[in-house]
Symmetry: C2
Subunit: 123 residues, 2 copies
DNA sequence: TGTGCATATTTAGCAAAACGCATATGATCC
DNA sequence: GGATCATATGCGTTTTGCTAAATATGCACA
């Protein structure tokens, strides 16, 4: 009923997106769930710092985590944030290359399941 | 070509919206242009403070001003910000009551063209 | 079972920036 | 001169951005 108190909530949500690191995380997550170690390699930031931003997003109800062995996977759960990302960055193209090659086991340089590595080099 | 440098620009734009006062200003401006004195009455903040936020928005290329006699009217010029506002707050309904009653001469309590005032009291 | 290694979270801390606001001054138009 | 608006300055408080250290937690393997 008081429209200005709602606006505060919206401003809070925009503030979540108004942060390069968080925006980059969310842009990655709207493509596919990602484990923390991959986000670390992707953003080039120290891991505790990424955990901090993930926590901000988690406590705001924007993302959720699910553990799988050693790894923790995060995924986007807020449809409105997804809509905002689409409105701002454009929708994710179906054929668009995801940041990772294969999902189930993290493939970023650190986690390095050696499977595809030499393919990348020669092809 | 470098998608992450673009993300910085997008984050900047989100940051503009992630501010209660600016968001309230933009929400008003997407309905209709407003003069500063009306925004002052609408937000209940001192005039220099509002001018300050308007300047932020102006220098970011989100709004533009046009002078008309004593008054300065601001309007929204960034279509992408308008799209984000629509995505977040919902589109402006056609019949929705604008904050002001009549545009050409500001009608907020301060500028008070006395025209409609007693109507408000009795009806 | 115990030890070690790797992933991830949490806590603490700090410098820098942003915020909220007041006040004073200036410009412009009537 | 009077009103609207912009700009500038200052100040106390809060938030941000980031680093570093400490603390779980799960897996592997002897």
């Amino acid at each position: 009923m008081t429209p200005s108190s709602d606006l505060n909530d919206y401003a809070e949500r925009f503030k979540l997106l108004g942060h390069p690191v968080r925006l980059q995380i969310l842009d990655a997550l709207r493509r596919t769930p990602e484990c923390v170690c991959h986000l670390e390699a992707l953003l080039g930031k120290p891991q505790p710092y990424i955990s901090q931003q993930l926590r901000v997003l988690r406590e705001a109800g924007v993302v959720a985590d699910s553990k799988d062995g050693l790894n923790v996977y995060y995924h986007l759960i807020d449809p409105q944030v997804a809509a905002l990302l689409n409105a701002a960055l454009g929708p994710v193209l179906p054929g668009e290359r995801s940041h990772r090659q294969a999902l189930p086991n993290c493939v970023c340089p650190k986690c390095a399941a050696p499977a595809r590595q030499m393919i990348t080099l020669q092809a």
